[in-house]
């Protein structure tokens, strides 16, 4: 069902947990399947310096969360904002069609976190 990369990220999820001194927190939930994700960002000079996640969900949801954290580290906020759910799935080497929706929470949580960061910084929503 899942490819090796997905299984690896599921078995050894990267960047799990909370960040006590997070600059931003993004939450998201899939109304339909009940999955939820919380993403913590540490931002310095507009660059994502550190990241942590917590996810409730299936294998695809957990692997996508883990994958996302690897993708955003070191990226500028604008670069991070450009990451789509499809990008995450692609970076994982693909997901079964039926599980694609489960990966949709990762990029969503990221975008929410960046919004949250900008709100905290007093920068309005872009676009």
């Amino acid at each position: 069902m899942y490819n090796e990369k997905v299984v690896d990220h599921f078995n050894n999820p990267r960047n799990v947990g909370e960040l006590a001194d997070a600059d931003a927190i993004g939450e998201t939930g899939s109304f339909k399947c009940g999955d939820t994700m919380t993403l913590y960002l540490k931002v310095r000079n507009g660059i994502i310096e550190d990241v942590r996640f917590q996810t409730y969900g299936c294998g695809a949801a957990i692997a996508s969360s883990s994958m996302l954290t690897e993708m955003v580290k070191g990226k500028t906020l604008d670069q991070a904002l450009a990451i789509t759910n499809q990008d995450v799935a692609d970076e994982l080497g693909g997901l079964p069609p039926l599980k694609l929706h489960c990966s949709n929470l990762a990029a969503d949580a990221l975008h929410n976190a960046i919004e949250n960061y900008r709100a905290r910084q007093g920068i309005g929503k872009t676009g």
């Binding site: 939450e27 339909k32 299936c58 294998g59 949801a61 957990i62 039926l98």
Partner: protein, 387 residues
Amino acid sequence: MSNREVYMDHGATTPVREEAVEAMLPFFKELYGNPSSVHSQGRKVRKAFENAREKTAAAIGANPEEIFFTSGGTESNNIALRGAAKRLNKPGHIITSSIEHHAVFDVCRDLEKEGHRVTYLPVDNMGLLDPSRVEDAITAETFIISIMAANNEIGTVQPIEEIGKIAAGHKILFHTDAVQVVGQLPVDVKKMQVDFLSLSGHKFNGPKGVGALYKRKGVKIDPLYHGGGQEKKLRPGTENVPGVVGLSRALELSVEEIPGKKAALEALRDRLIDGLLKIDDVVLNGHPEKRLPGNVNVSFSFIEGESILLSLDMHGIAASSGSACSSGSLDPSHVLSAIGLDHQTAHGSIRFTLGRGNNESDVDYVLEKIPSVVENLRRISPMGKTK
């Protein structure tokens, strides 16, 4: 991946036992004739086929002419319910439970579209149906009652004999989906007072793709399919001879073995349940006693079923989950909803179904591995941080 493989998904399907495979083999290459043929190749096959029918009948207390072979439990259920509805030939009323397998539940939904009215009786939070509810639901239009003998997800065993008495008292057709029960618990169609009973080969170490419908003598329904007239026109098509022979052999042995295996399986089951309940925030779903001998169903709070299954799979443990996230439907099963589980508890439910070949060491292996699986997933989860 693990080297050890522990299969605890016997409720989904079972391996075909050696004796059943042996019984089937001659019917592929040597006794390959069509049982409807006049020649001796065909007649020999007919004989074996009818012998299989006798064995199947004997296993559930029926007469051979009351057994109709089908392609599985799904088809048996469909033939009974739709066949009765078709014969009625006008809108009627059906009584069923809210925890039936989709092969009854979705048939009823479809019959509603055709104009029938269906009452889906609620069950209690252990999945048990109160027979008096059946009695109360009966109307002048009720033509069939369909209540499963035991539930495939949570294992709750229903009081079929009591419901059978009620149905018989009202002279209403009574069908039971006994797919999870046949071969596990003693079944006697006469005692149950059922008019129809569905069974499926692959649930008792027989082959997939073959099942049977018991139809009490004298009960008339309309066939759904038409063709060469096989199975007294109720289920036409060239007979799946090897499948039927394999089914009957597996069934014969499964039923013979019930006295010896039932208590042993229950002991394994309870050992697994006890061990699982030692983990924090775990609840048992289904009935503590009125329960299939091999069924264990628990919900782990804060974590999701598929990810548990996947982790168990890494340890070589095969189980199943009540959430059907991967099957295209995102809602938790209607069974878990019907026993009152909230969305999250339902999504955290895991079913272990023990069967032939499982032993204490398998149970202990699961109990050894599962705490870390649960812990790791809870560590990732944003929920349950309060504890």
